[in-house]
Symmetry: C2
Amino acid sequence: MKVLGEKPDIKGCSRTDSFVHARQYCISLKTEHTILCERLVGALNHFLPEDIAVWSCREVPPDFHARYSCTGKEYVYQIWNHPVRDPFQQHRALHYWYQLDLNRLNEAAACYLGTHDFTSFCTLDSRERGDMTRTVTKAEVRREGDLVLFTVAADGFLYNMVRIMVGTLLRVAQGKLEPQQVAEVIEAKDRRAAGPTAPPYGLYLNRVFYEDVKT
Amino acid sequence: MKVLGEKPDIKGCSRTDSFVHARQYCISLKTEHTILCERLVGALNHFLPEDIAVWSCREVPPDFHARYSCTGKEYVYQIWNHPVRDPFQQHRALHYWYQLDLNRLNEAAACYLGTHDFTSFCTLDSRERGDMTRTVTKAEVRREGDLVLFTVAADGFLYNMVRIMVGTLLRVAQGKLEPQQVAEVIEAKDRRAAGPTAPPYGLYLNRVFYEDVKT
């Protein structure tokens, strides 16, 4: 408002819970202002707090909507997998003491791939109604040193979906669930069949996809 | 005290200002307790706050002293060198907008190498008395993507020495000082000849060296 002298109606690409991070995020807004895109970046960064930054800005067709035009998203969940915590990962990764078996976790993660009703992986609240079917196009676990990263991409996500996916993978890590049983957890369509909701601070919205818009 | 049931006299390897980070740090203490080293690590981490962690613990000769036995230290100063700030580097790197010329900075940093009186690079306060001579064994600037890292190792450091070294390098970056003039800044033995003290949050105590003790 300070920048454009008006209060534009801002649309964000997704809801993010407190303590969840975003490496990429898209908003759309309509303005009558004639400010150049490249100048808007600097002006917004000047007024925004230090923990948020605008990377780029561009003109889009009038029917573009940050949320409804979005064709998919990718999240990463970070786990610090070492017997001793890393203070530099505080609020940035979940600390998991025992050595994670990535073959086992990837076998479990593969069950998430494809089109499923993900009711088991959704915190039911007033915000979630309608179709619980989503298509997961990527679900893999990799290691970078002592960090274990779970990457998942889909055409859309239910409320807390990634965090419950991670909580369920950790059930597998603990031996409370066999990898292939994750398919049964999905099949159950019951939140109680899945693992707990992993804490928010390990979660990163990593990429947001749009048709014909390179991000 | 909670762990050992006594209040041991703890010696730290260095003073670190507020907001300065440490990737390695050494303390020494004498205890009558017979607790095993490996158990002490876990016990201390249990009681310590989340932003500090004990990595290892070992028995040393009785004359070992974390500060006086220390033969050298290495610091790294992190600069986020990009027109747009990175929220993930908040409190972790100094933000510098304009593209840094590493050849120029390395030419300047090379002046720090060797044995010099570093009076120009010391905040004078009641804590600093006596010999201001230190031997710098490493002083180099490198780039990792958009991060520019200044690494400096010496047998010891004066109060604020690295931060003033960085402030002086940034004077060189700004063209207010030519690289080879850094030698004159050292020669001046006058704090006013050097650049400003760079902010603390970009500074990391990276390594601490001891004779015959692998760290």
